[in-house]
Structures are given as C-alpha cells and as structure tokens.
Point group: none
DNA sequence: AATGAATGAGAATTCATTCAT
DNA sequence: GATGAATGAATTCTCATTCAT
C-alpha cells in the first residue's frame, strides 16, 4: 500500500536521493558524449569520462555496466530528443510542399547541426561498423523516419504540381545529403576551411528546390 | 598503360631485394587499410596487420616506426592515386559543363565509391579529429582540388549559359554531397537498406543538374 | 531444551533493541558461513553476505570491522557449539571403551558431518594457511581436545583389555581420519560418487575397532 | 620434406627456442603451484606468479590464456605424474595382499605426501567446489583408480585368507583416510603439532592391517 | 632481414570500506 | 541505526614496442 503511495509520490517528485542519482546519470551521459566525441570509442578512457563528470572511476560503474553499455546508452539517450523533434515537425499540413521541405531542413540545421547532436551523427558513421545495433537503431529511428517525411513532402509537391516526378532511388538521401556533409565538415574540416551554416543552408535549399522544381 | 611503363622502369631500376622490400611495404599498406577500416585506429592491432600481410609482428616495425606512422602513411599512400585520378579528369575542355560535371561525378562514383577508397573517406571522418594533419592533408589535396574543379566547371557552365549564377557558399560541397553520403551509406547502413550505386547516381546527377540549370 | 531456557533468560536480560542487534548479528554470521563456504574467503563479497542476511552493505560494518574480522568471528562462533558438544560427550564413564569410542564417532558424524559445520572443517583446511590464528584456534580447541578424548578412551580400553597397546604417534588422527575424509568427500566429490554416511560410518567403526582390538 | 626432417629432428631435440619455451612453461607451472598453494586461487596474483617464475606480467599470458586456465593446467599437469606413478605400483602380483597394501601406502606417503603434490591434494579440497571439472578430473583419475587398486588388493587378501570379508561401503576411503589426513595436517597444523610421517605411517598401516585381518 | 618471445605501461573492472543522508 | 552512493586501490588482461636469435 505504502509502496503504491510512494510510487505515486515519486512520480511527481522523486526523492532527493533519486533526483541526485538521475542528475548524475545525465551528467555521466554528457561526459560520455564529450569524451567519445573527442577521441572515439576505443580511445576513450572511462577515467576521463569520470573526471569529465566530476566523479571517480568506480562511480561510472554504478550507473553503467561497461564501457560498451555506457556508449550505447549514451548514443540512444542523445538520439531520443531527435525523435521527439522529428515528431514535432510532422505537423503543418497547411504549408506548401516547398515551404515544408525548407522548414524541415531548417529545423535539422538548427537542432542537429548546430548542437552537440552532430557529434552523434559522426559517431554513428565512425563507430557504426563496430556497433551494428546502434547503426540499425539510428537507421530505423532517424534515417527511416527522415526518409519517410521527405518522401511524403515530395508526394505532396508532385500532387500540387510544385515538384516534378522523379524516379526516386536515393532521392531522399540526395536531398538531405548537403546537411549531412555540413555536419561532418563542421566537425572535421572547419578549422581548415570554415563554413557558415546559414549561407550554406541557403545554397543547399536553393539547389535542391530548384532541382526538384517541375 | 603508364602503370606498366612505371613498373618496367622500376624493375630495371631497383634491385631484386629492393623490389621485394617495396612489395612487402605495399602489402603492409594494404593490410593496414583492411584492418584499420575494419575496426578503426585505436582498436586495430599491429599483430592483425602483420598477419593480414603474412609477416610477423616485428617485421611491421622494420617498415614503419609506429602504429601511428603506419596509419598516416597508409592513408597518404591510399590517397595519392586519387590525386592522379583527379588530374586525369581535368582534361576534356571540349565537353560542355553539363557533360563535364556528369563525367566528374561518374568518375568519383567509379573510382572512389566503388572501391576500397571509400574506406579512406570514412576513416578520415572517423579519425580526423584525432589526426588533424591527415584531415588537413585530405582537405588540401582532395577536397580543395575537388572544389576547385567543380568551381571551374560551374564557371564554364555559367559562361556558356548552361548553369544559372548561384551565390556559391558551399555550392561545391552541396554538389558533391550526394556522393559522399552514398559512400558512407554503403559502409554503414547498406546492410539495413541497400542502395544501388548506379541508379542512386542517376538520381544524384538528375537532381543536381536540374538544380543548377539556368 | 537448554536452548529455549537460554533464549528465555536472555530475553529478559537484554532489552528489545539489544535482542534485535544480537539477532542481526547472528543472521550475519549465518550469512557469512553460507557465502564463505560457497566461494571461500577471497572470492566472497561483503555485498553477498549483506544480501544473504537481508541487510545493506553498510550494515555489515556496523557489526564487524572488516571482512577478515567477519570471517574470523564467524569461524569462531560456529566452532564454539562444537566445544560444548564435545564437553557433553565426555561423560558416560560407565560405558566400555569400545562403546565410548563408537558413541564418540557417532556423535561426530551426526553433529558435524551431517550439518553446516562440516563447511567449517573445510574452510579451516582451505583457508588455514592464510589465517594461522584460526588454524591454531581450531587445533587448540577442537583437534587437541578430540585427540585427548580419544587418547583417554584408548587408555581405558587398554586398561580394560579391550584394546591392544599401540605405539600411538598419530593414533588419534588415524582413528578419526575416516570421519574427516567423509566430511570432505561429501563437500567435494559427492556429486561424482555419493556416499551414504550411515553405512560409511559402519565401515569406519568396524575397521577401526577391529584394528584396535587386543 | 624438410618439414618432416625437422619434425623428426625436433622430436629428438627441440630447437633451442622451443626448449626454452617449454622450460619457461614448466617454470610458470611451478611458480603457479607455489603461489596458488600459498594463498589459494582467488587471492593469488598473476604478478606474483610472474615474479616467482622470473618473468614479467605479460609473459604469463603468452603461455596461459587466463588465471583460470593457468590454475587448471597447473593442477592437471601436476596430477599427471601421479597417474604414471600409480600405474607403476600396479605390478607386483607375486606379493601377498598385506605386503601389497603396505607397499601402496608407502608409495603414496613417499610420492605424494612427502612432496609438493600434497599441495595439489589440498587445493582440490579447497577449490574443488569452485572448479568442479578439476574435482571431477581428480576423482576420475586419482581417487577412482586408487579405490580400484585398493579394492583389488582387498579381494586378493580375502581370497588368500589374509583379510576378512567386509561389507565395504567406503572401505577404500577409510583405508586411505589416514594418509589424506596426514597430508592435510602437514600443511595446516604441522606448525602447531608436528607429525613425523614415518612413525605416523607405521601407526596407519598397523591399525588398518589389523582392522582388515581375518 | 625476419621472427616471435618478452616487456611493462596502461586500461577496464571489481569491491572493501567510508560516509552523507 | 540503516542505507546505499561514492571512492580509489588493486587486479586482470592487452598490446605497442623492443630485442635476442
């Protein structure tokens, strides 16, 4: 009985202990993102994650079973907000296909490319072959949905006469490709040749929309 | 053709022993590409490289000072053919800009995406932050030249009236982006959703050329 | 019976709180016996002892200073009843030496071999070299007394003409050896070749008494 | 061809390298016996084994996959000579059963109790529950054979009228028990109460043979 | 030149012990 | 008193690198 009450109570307000635990867990995930992004999975040291999170080595293992678990949970945790973001964009059926596509891409540039999340993107590409289930998860939840969304917009555009009919194998990937490349560029080559995401975005949209135009 | 000539020349120029050394060096570089591609730099074992090349662990150190040296030299060595490839394409001033762009991209798909070299591309993205000089080298020698080439074609196209004038920040990247994404996709997501490079290429070219069209 | 009396007495003597403490202490000792028996001293985890006793890790340290202390106190605590048992048997001077020896061995089979206490015996053998003071305690209090007892019975038997005079170096050990081996066998080899303690005991007594017979 | 020659040659005389490797392997097994005997499996440090063998930490892993492997291989290796010893004793069908039994026990005292091998015996008892396959191996190869041997001698003795007929459940164990106890005693309690194996042996044999006598 | 045995620094992981709540 | 989160020393195991053969 009291357990139920406790449970209810805790849903509204976790005990201080639980709060702190959850906060520390989040801090560890942040630290993990930072460290793994910096050096990749294999070269990352659990000790560094611990220091980055301000705890001791052993503490990391109170929250995550192993380095691999930490990595996977971090990636998943950091991906999840993307999913809700994606859902958020899905609305706006009153816009034209052109506007919707532009809005989508804008959203991606803002939410993903301009934040820590682009690191996740790069990690997936870098470590994907070593962590197939993460790659699969990313594909199923992010890429697939992205493709579906773009596909739907194209269909709307074709129906409304905004876009021409295109065969389509790899169309969604080609539409989004510029954004991906921007993200990678920022992380790898920006120091040698910086790009400005805003004007880069304009070019991207201009090129693609023109390419799709009927 | 030129390869044969080079080979013959070197056979005469190099003593048998020197030839064997050079062959073993090349075998080690191939082995290194295979192993580093498979698991990344940090997780790769020198022992695996040795085995893959059919020599013993100690032998690797007769040819390369350290794991890092091996990695860097391998990446540079495997990049170099791209440079000569690139140079080869530069000719053909008799083609239209449209044809040239198509030819360029085709060439990239064939030579890079459809070969081991796409691994190099991925390695640069994965390990770039840990090996800034490699990233810089790649940028200076591959990306920069690619951008220049594309830029030149665009100019030609604009001059000839084939292409419209576009502002251009990130234009080259956006034009090439589809190819990059194809390469990464093949390496990371192909098992979940295979893409056919030939039709993907058609979509890519179709979209881009239409996007550029005046 | 005497246990109940003791218990009642102590219930009056000790406050409720003190009782609870004492009960928890006993529960911890039981848990410690179980865990240490299962995996030995070094491999045992304080956490497992805590769980086995139904308390948290920290609580164990409220009762015992360290893992080593817990181990030693547990062994001593679990040995003590053997001492009182031994004392109990010492009586019965009206029996023949033959009967007394048989009774003694019977008692040992019942009280030690057929209970958790055989684990103590094995722990002493396994950990003795690492805990010399425990080994010494065991030797002084159990083995020495056992030898004395057996020696006394032999003397009685020789005096009464039941037993022959034997030189005696290691006689007591040889008389008791079968029982020790039975205990170890039960713990280590029983799953490969089970022994039945009752008939084993008969063989043991038969062989020894015949061996001693005048 | 040369391989065959090499193989033949090496059977007679291993290459120096191979010799040294084999020697080091044996040294490591000796070191392992020493260390594991001293502190048991769980408390033993690979580092100590390495030092005891005069090599570095990493070297141990060139010869044995893990601590567990080292332990098991050591126990098996150290057991094997017992097997051949046992086989050696089996002969002598011209002796009386009494003489044979005495010879057997003598042999066991000399070969096992009076050497490092008694440590193996204790390790099996101490670690058996944690390493069931070792316990099984010991049971199948040492204990079982010992029982069979003793059983055969008893039969011979009964047939010849030297021994009485005994029911026999646990007879072999009871006959050998004194020797086992002697071994354990030497390792655990000798410092508190030393025993002299020679006179202890006499008592053992005297008691048992008298116990078996018709 | 080639080998592969040996080294030892380094990293993941465990767990006895402490201590704030 | 009790809890269980946190610590960090200690240990197993790995692997780049060296070096005797």
């Amino acid at each position: 009985m009291s357990e139920l009450i406790d449970a209810n109570t805790s849903k509204e307000a976790l005990s201080k202990r639980e709060q702190q635990k959850e906060n520390k867990r989040l801090a560890l995930l942040d630290a993990a993102l930072a460290v793994f992004s910096r050096v990749g999975f294999a070269a990352a040291k659990m000790d560094d994650v611990a220091h980055e999170a301000g705890v001791s080595k052993g503490t990391v293992y109170l929250y995550f079973d192993s380095k691999e678990t930490l990595f996977k949970e971090m990636v998943r945790a950091k991906m999840t907000p993307m999913l809700t973001d994606v859902a958020e964009v899905l609305g706006h059926p009153d816009m034209s296909a052109t506007e919707r596509l532009k809005a989508h891409l804008k959203f991606f540039y803002k939410k993903v490319l301009n934040s820590d999340r682009r690191q996740i993107m790069r990690l997936i590409m870098a470590e994907g072959p070593n962590f197939p289930d993460l790659a699969e998860f990313y594909h199923a939840n992010i890429l697939n949905r992205g493709q579906a969304m773009i596909g739907a917009i194209i269909q709307q555009g074709v129906a409304s006469g905004e876009f021409r009919q295109m065969e389509g194998h790899g169309l969604a990937q080609n539409i989004a490709a510029g954004a991906l490349v921007a993200g990678i560029w920022k992380l790898v080559f920006d120091r040698f040749q910086p790009i400005d995401l805003d004007t880069y975005f304009d070019t991207h949209v201009d090129l693609i929309l023109n390419g799709l135009k009927a």
